[in-house]
Amino acid sequence: MNASKLLSVEDVAVDLPTARGNLRAVDRVDLALGAGRTLGIVGESGCGKTMLSRAILQLLPKKAKLSGRVMFDGQDLVRCSPESLRKLRARSLAVVFQDPMTSLNPVLTIGTQLIETLQEHLELDGATAGRRAVELLAAVGIPAPEQRLTQYPHQLSGGMRQRVAIAIALSCEPKLLIADEPTTALDVTIQAQILDLLAREQRRRHMAMIIITHDLGVVAGRTDEVAVMYAGRVVERAPTPVLFKNMHMPYTEALLAAIPKLDAAPHTALPAISGRPPDPTRPLKGCSFWPRCRYADGRCESEKPRLEGAETAAHQFACFHPIKLAAGVGV
């Protein structure tokens, strides 16, 4: 069933040894993504979404321990040699990080940072690479692209810098682009532009994309499928329109309620989710969300619900008391 998928994350867990004990950042996650499709991974800070993306990219910190398989294009990235992994990068796997001020090297020119990728993987000569770089900068909507080649990151605005980071990521026509909180560090007014740019390029290149964010609003209308993460696990997964219309997880409901709505009356209080995520070095026995959940009961405290679909296999959730479920099914 997964043979046709470009990316298949199977039973991946990430453990980090810390001073206070073992920290389970990602707790046995399964994900799949087909070529040309977009997946949104949503969750609050500390839910493990960034660690998951690093696990997929094989860029985990040295101390981290990874278990499970990451099947990409038929290969298990976890078992790849460093050299073959390196060759895969940029051409197959690309990433855009959250803050372009820190993800771009401050002492190298934009041109250098773009061209070096082109030269490394596409083996272009200097002049061709330079022309290609200018084309890429123009494609991501940067005005006067020739001049940018000799400029440094600090000379550009935040939005421009992120466009450069996107240009770098797209430069070798990757099959999968992972965008980790691509707009969080940017002005609200720029956010929509950047997200539209990503969506446009994704469609044009028929590229698979994963957008990681804490904001459900970002994935609405821009992704094919959404996976909601909490405390290191995927707690709900569904095609995007289904999730928004018909969500089952109390946590997802709470996340959606926390988005300010345009048509709400002025000064409406935003319902924040009370409490805090659990300490990842001390995992809870039962459902990780139960201390903050309105529908929780004794079973939630003692037993961990499994991720499974009730009505359809495409819509999975991990809850004993899912909401908006058709009466008589599940629980």
């Binding site: 990219l57 860029l59 390196r86 060759k87 895969l88 990068r89 940029a90 051409r91 796997l93 690309a94 990433v95 990080f97 803050d99 820190t102 993800s103 771009l104 090297n105 401050p106 002492v107 190298l108 070096e116 990728t117 490394e120 993987h121 440094y152 600090h154 000379q155 980071a165 770098i168």
Partner: protein, 316 residues
């Protein structure tokens, strides 16, 4: 860029003035009187008074300073009353020797320190790293004169491979010249490399944690390129800082090394002048050295701007 340069040059002038004032004040600390020193055992009250008047030593200190400064700006740093040579002559004769020593020493220090720092940063926490860090720490407790003794004992006394003292100009005998410089440069270089290695290593370790290094890895660049282009370049600013700070230490070091190895450099000029109480030479030479130090630091500052474009554009 030019604006930056102009601003720094502007700042240079008061520093040089302050240095000249400080030098003058040090020289005027003399508890006795310069005239007595010059006349030695020929001093009689009348001769002393006459000489003092001739040299302007009976004027108020501020006027003496300004007078002296005036001479200095015309190029007259004074003349030795022992040898008759002017300070500038003495200094320019010896400058090449000290310069050669400092250059070789710094090259040796960098040649040892930089590669070690890079390797240790790339493999930080490993056995090699811990061993080298410990060695560097231990070497910090071995000053130049101790290394000198050790090297002289090993290579000059026991093995007899290299000469312990002596000098011949490069233009006369290049090979001989280099032979005489081996031990002195090695001494100074061994004293300097631990400082360079420690600071560059810790800076590179910090740099290697940065997000842009992770992105460079994500781009699939070769590890050598990541290390030498992406990581070393931002850290090279620290390297320049160290080299800059080192210049002051090197200058002090040349005093010791030149004296031990009998190299006719500026350091030895200073020590010799102290020995013969040739205070005019001493004062003039100290001024030259101090001004040279200020200028070297200024050049280092300029180098910062070249390496880190943020400083050029005023963003640092």
């Amino acid at each position: 860029m030019l604006g930056f340069l102009a601003r720094r040059l502007f700042y240079l002038v008061p520093v040089l003035l302050a240095v000249s004032l400080l030098t003058f004040l040090i020289a005027s600390l003399l508890p006795g009187d310069l005239a007595y020193v010059i006349l030695g055992d020929q001093a009689t009250p009348e001769k002393v008074a006459a000489l003092r008047h001739d040299m302007g030593l009976d004027e108020p200190i501020l006027l003496r300073y300004l007078g002296w400064l005036g001479h200095v700006l015309e190029g007259d740093f004074g003349r030795s009353f022992r040898t008759g040579q002017t300070v500038l002559q003495a200094v320019s004769e010896r400058l090449p020797v000290s310069f050669e020593l400092m250059l070789f020493a710094q090259i040796i220090a960098l040649a040892i320190g930089v590669p070690l720092a890079i390797v240790c940063a790339a493999r930080s926490g490993g056995t090699f790293d811990r061993f080298m860090t410990g060695t560097a720490f231990g070497m910090l407790s071995v000053p130049a004169f101790l290394s000198a003794i050790l090297l002289i004992y090993l290579f000059a006394v026991e093995l007899r491979w290299l000469p312990a003292t002596g000098y011949v100009p490069f233009t006369e005998d290049p090979i001989g010249n280099l032979r005489f410089f081996v031990l002195p440069s090695l001494t100074l270089g061994l004293a300097e490399w631990p400082g360079i290695m420690r600071v560059l290593r810790s800076d590179m370790i910090a740099t290697l944690q940065e997000d842009y290094i992770t992105l460079a890895k994500a781009k699939g660049l070769k590890p050598s390129r990541i290390l030498f282009v992406h990581a070393l370049k931002p850290s090279s600013l620290t390297l320049i800082t160290i080299t800059g700070i080192n210049i002051g230490r090197l200058m002090g070091g040349t005093v010791i090394v030149e004296t031990i190895f009998a190299l006719p450099g500026i350091g030895r000029l200073v020590v010799g002048a102290i020995g013969t109480r040739d205070l005019i030479i001493l004062q003039g030479t100290v001024l030259c050295i101090a001004c040279g130090y200020v200028l070297m630091n200024f050049i280092v500052d300029m180098l910062y701007a070249v390496i880190d474009p943020r400083i050029r554009h005023g963003h640092a």
